[in-house]
Symmetry: C2
Subunit: 186 residues, 2 copies
DNA sequence: CTATATCCATACGGTAGCGTATTGAAGGGA
DNA sequence: TCCCTTCAATACGCTACCGTATGGATATAG
């Protein structure tokens, strides 16, 4: 009863992984049954063994991403402890480490699929709420905290969307300046 | 020699407009010749009169968007005159009036089309340069100006991407606060 | 009135991908 | 050993869309 990965037979998970990879590289529209099968060196006969249809795969891929990418960062930030200002900086630094390719593709996907859009809204809400809460703890009034949280989160998503990746050193300096600007109190 | 719009015959521009509309509503993948023709109450015989092929239309749609949403806005801001701080606020207000649906769809499109991605990079650069220049005029040092320009521009793109639209009043208050935060000098 | 340019309909062949049905192969358990 | 489960190959019909070819309609210029 040994699970033989890495050899001949494919698992459902293998298809999901390939789905994620293709999704990140070239968008949902290219996550299609026959091209994927060709990529994996099999025919679609295999695919339809593991999945009901194409939508079944897409659903599985999405759930996989949510599982991996939703609560992980928040947990890491909470684990280090410290005050809210420190947590905020750590949050910025962590968030900026992802290249955002999968997230990008999923947001693009949500553009013409309202079910995906709804799911994304929940993810965004969770992240925004957490960020805003940190600003509140620092001492900003609710509206001030919200606007600041939005600015930094939207800016992150914007950077993912635009896809500019400057070198890591400059990136870090930039993040620190953002942090300074946003946590500055008059 | 009267140009009869609004009646029977279609123009190339009519197709471009429908292309933009469909693009905003449901993405590039749905901007297809035959469905569009059905939407416009004609057959594709008409389409291939005005366009070489589907790509020809997509190219035209893209150029139309660049013309409307980049060149035009910058021109409007320059026309009002005033100092850089004033221009910046006006720029924010103008930018925030678009719902970002077309821009969104185009960015999604760029995800799996490098030619589109290249064009978008140019558009982003143009907008960023202009914004940064205003911050420079206000008196910020180059790095400070760049970070501020990125923050506000990325935040705008991020908001488009996420798609949250609060009511216009709150939206305006938020923009003003952003403006205050970013133009504040220690 | 006739001719020409402009715009559109119709009909056609071609391709990519979906999903199904059926058969084949290979390995583990009784 | 034999069977049964698991995974994959093959072949098929179906649909949506692309682009082309050709001919028809309508308006306008001469």
């Amino acid at each position: 009863m040994v699970k033989n990965n890495e050899s001949s037979k494919l698992t459902r998970q293998d298809w999901i992984n390939q789905g994620l990879k293709t999704l990140a590289e070239s968008g949902v529209e290219t996550v299609r049954v026959e091209p994927l099968a060709k990529l994996m060196g099999v025919t679609k006969g295999s695919f339809y063994w593991h999945f009901k249809n194409r939508e079944d795969l897409l659903e599985a891929v999405l759930q996989e991403w949510i599982k991996l990418q939703t609560h992980s960062i928040i947990e890491q930030v909470e684990e280090i402890g410290g005050n809210a200002t420190t947590k905020l900086l750590y949050l910025f630094e962590l968030a900026v480490q992802d290249d955002g390719h999968v997230e990008n593709a999923i947001r693009a996907w949500a553009t013409n699929d309202s079910k995906i859009a709804d799911l994304l809204t929940q993810v965004d809400q969770r992240r925004l709420d957490y960020t805003k809460d940190l600003f509140l703890q620092i001492g900003f009034a609710p509206f001030e905290a919200m606007v600041r949280a939005r600015m930094v989160y939207y800016a992150l998503v914007g950077e993912f969307t635009i896809g500019t990746r400057s070198d890591q050193a400059e990136r870090l300096a930039e993040i620190r300046l953002q942090h300074a600007i946003l946590t500055h109190q008059n």
